[in-house]
């Protein structure tokens, strides 16, 4: 009996370790979140970088999408944006920010929730902030007029 229990415990520990290691092995080149979906990116929807922000035109609307990799509501929106990129207007850019990895940006824009959208100008000046948009249409519809 004791041996059985020890066996079960060993199996559980092994399973946990395996779950932890497998994703690293299957996606070795994607330690950060956003990259898991690189396939779905374009000029109008891409991971955040200072360069991507600077490349926005003077009259473009830029929306930073703070999203955590483990956040399922974010995943729903990420998928919707990726699937409907052709309907992002020419003067809108959506830049994906990793929520867990962007302490400075979170501080700058007061982001406290893993699923947050921040409208900024191309200089990075914050304009508006909201949370939990579910679809690309939701995001586009919430953009404020400056």
């Amino acid at each position: 009996m004791r041996k059985l229990v020890i066996g079960i415990v060993v199996v559980i520990v092994a399973a946990v370790v395996a779950i932890a290691v497998i994703p690293r092995l299957t996606a070795p080149s994607s330690p950060s979140s956003a990259s898991a979906e690189t396939a779905g990116f374009s000029e109008r929807y891409q991971p955040y970088s200072e360069q991507a922000l600077a490349e926005a035109g003077p009259d473009d609307t830029v929306v930073l999408f703070f999203s955590a990799v483990w956040c399922s509501t974010c995943k729903v929106l990420r998928d919707d944006i990726a699937a409907n990129q052709q309907s992002i207007p020419n003067d809108v850019r959506i830049l994906l920010v990793d929520f867990d990895d962007s302490t400075e940006l979170k501080q700058q824009y007061g982001v406290v929730y893993q699923h947050t959208l921040v409208q900024v100008d191309r200089a990075g000046q914050g304009i508006a902030r909201w949370e939990l948009s579910r679809t690309l249409d939701d995001v586009l519809g919430t953009i404020v007029v400056v």
């Binding site: 483990w70 007061g110 699923h115």
Partner: protein, 554 residues
């Protein structure tokens, strides 16, 4: 309150979502290792308290924004590792609790008659999970985003309902873990292999949490479409009238501010801010309060011959062609910014804003026909002075002459003609001129410029909202209005060139500078009033619609 049952349900459903993954093994193993239901209740109760406390804390304390996610993971993970270690190595735990009196203290806290063993550990276990608990429930998100900001009480009630739902499921898991242990009587032995094994499991999970691996596992599950009850919950939220309005986006640019800055509201209590031009809400305090920079009324003048200030000093010069020429040197204006004077029967305000180099003479007659005097409010918009009129306490922007608050919002003061000359020019052209006296009644050192080399350097005391890089920010422009069109010309280049003919909106204008004096005439030969201003300050108002004429480019 329709949301309450939904919040409870969302709490229950959360157990299905990947976000809750780190909690499950910890709760399961942690409670299986303890004897007695009391410890299971304790784990869950402290978990609930910890979850609510951290939810509100992270929501409310912006200071915590600076704490990287990793830190919370390390804190939580380390606690779980520690708890695992106390189970795996019971001797160690006993030594620690005896040495610190931890058990006794918490035992008394929870229930003085409780067994004095094993109270601290469950408490700590539950608390350890608060910092890393992040719910993916859309209902939970709705509570945070839409309900809490409008009503803390309702938001808190929903948060509580959610936590109760979550805790109920967690409690079942904890009790389930314990019932397995109870069936195996031998497993209760604190030094038994089973408990040590659970301790080892907790150490492993704690390490996974601390290293962030657990988040990778969650991400892995989410990427594979294992989203828990998200779709179900959103479906319910769509179907049910929750009575919660979609929250408006929060403006973080101040662009839609409807509140005046506190210093203005305080110093101008009579103003109806509802009717004010929103531009006024962007005003900042320049430092000195209302009248802290004292405007001059009934100024005294002295003959030019008595004035010792150098030829290079610039001055606003009023010449009505009848009375003696009046000279208002910058070195005096820079300390007072406004001189309320009367020239040839016309009440005028001679104004100068040092931070944007704007020299403008207004007629100080209000739209209702009454004359007023102007004072310095202490507020600035894009470095430009906000004046106030003493008759109605309205606020006026100096660079545009426009009323931003008060009775006359939207109206503009009339410009009065003047020249911008140096004292050297004046000595040459108007030897009989009279100069604003240094005897102003205020103790100011008119030999000293309080702004230092601000005019020459490229720094700002209050950085402007936009910078137009066509010209150096502080280059002085001559500015005027043709029809409705605002026009600016680089002043020194114009002075150098001597004249400029141009068309603005199809109307001919002719500019001529003679002995430093500018004359601007429209097609009919009428003389147009003008003023002077640094480029950046003119551009923040007129970048989009204004016209720049440059003698260098024609």
């Amino acid at each position: 309150m329709e949301l309450l049952p939904l919040s409870l349900l969302a709490g229950v459903l959360t157990v299905l979502s990947p976000c809750v993954l780190p909690l499950l093994p910890v709760i399961l193993a942690g409670s299986a290792a303890e004897s007695g239901r009391r410890s299971a209740y304790l784990i869950i109760a402290s978990l609930a308290v910890s979850v609510i406390a951290f939810t509100l804390l992270i929501r409310g304390a912006s200071a915590l924004l600076g704490v990287p996610t990793d830190v919370w993971l390390i804190v939580s993970g380390s606690l779980v590792v520690f708890i695992g270690a106390t189970l795996a190595f019971p001797a160690l735990w006993e030594r620690i609790s005896t040495a610190t009196g931890l058990n006794r203290a918490t035992g008394e806290l929870v229930d003085s008659s409780a067994k004095r063993t094993g109270m601290a550990r469950p408490l700590l276990l539950g608390l350890s999970l608060g910092p890393i608990f992040t719910s993916c429930s859309p209902t939970y998100g709705l509570i945070l985003a839409a309900v809490l900001p409008t009503s803390f009480a309702v938001g808190f009630a929903n948060l509580l309902a959610y936590t109760v739902g979550l805790s109920a499921v967690m409690l079942l898991i904890a009790l389930g873990g314990q019932s397995v242990t109870r069936r195996m009587k031998w497993a209760v032995d604190p030094k038994g292999v089973f408990r040590r094994g659970l301790g080892g499991l907790l150490i492993a999970v704690g390490l996974l949490i601390a290293t962030g691996v657990v988040k990778d596992v969650e991400a892995w599950l989410v990427e594979r479409g294992i989203l828990g009850a998200v779709v179900l919950e959103q479906g319910i939220l769509d179907q049910v009238d929750t009575g919660v309005d979609e929250p408006e986006p929060v403006r973080i640019d101040g662009g839609r501010q409807t509140e005046p800055p506190a210093f203005l509201a305080q110093q101008f209590p009579g103003i109806d801010w509802q009717s004010a031009d929103p531009a006024i809400f962007q005003a900042v305090g320049g430092g000195p309060p209302r009248d802290g920079i004292p405007a001059l009324d009934d100024p005294a003048f002295v003959p030019l011959a008595q004035v010792v200030w150098g030829d290079e000093v610039q001055a606003i010069v009023l010449n009505d062609g009848v009375n003696a020429v009046r000279v208002y040197p910058y070195n005096v204006l820079i300390w007072h910014e406004i001189v309320n004077d009367t020239v040839d029967g016309i009440p005028v305000a001679v104004t100068f804003c040092p931070l944007c180099g704007s020299a403008i003479v207004f007629e100080r007659t209000l739209p209702n026909g009454n004359a007023t005097t102007f004072g310095v409010s202490g507020g600035l918009i894009d470095s430009n002075m906000i004046m106030f009129d003493r008759a109605t306490e309205g606020l006026w922007q100096q660079s545009t002459g426009r009323a931003l608050a008060g009775e006359f919002v939207g109206t503009e003061l009339a410009l009065h003609p003047f020249q911008l000359l140096t004292l050297g020019d004046v000595r040459e052209s108007y030897p009989d001129a009279r100069v604003l006296s240094a005897d102003t009644g205020f103790a100011r050192d008119y030999e000293r410029n309080p702004y230092g080399d601000y005019d020459e350097n490229d720094r700002f005391l209050f950085p402007p909202s936009t910078l137009d890089e066509r010209y150096p920010a502080k280059l002085i422009m001559a500015a005027f209005v043709v029809g409705e069109q605002r026009v600016a010309v680089p002043w020194l280049a114009l002075r150098e060139a001597g004249s400029l003919e141009a068309e603005v909106d199809g109307r001919a204008v002719s500019l001529r500078v003679t002995d430093g004096e500018l004359v601007v005439r429209d097609a009919a030969g009428r003389s147009l009033p003008f003023y002077f201003e640094m480029w950046f300050s003119w551009a923040v108002q007129n970048q989009e619609s204004g016209v720049v004429l440059d003698p260098a480019t024609g």
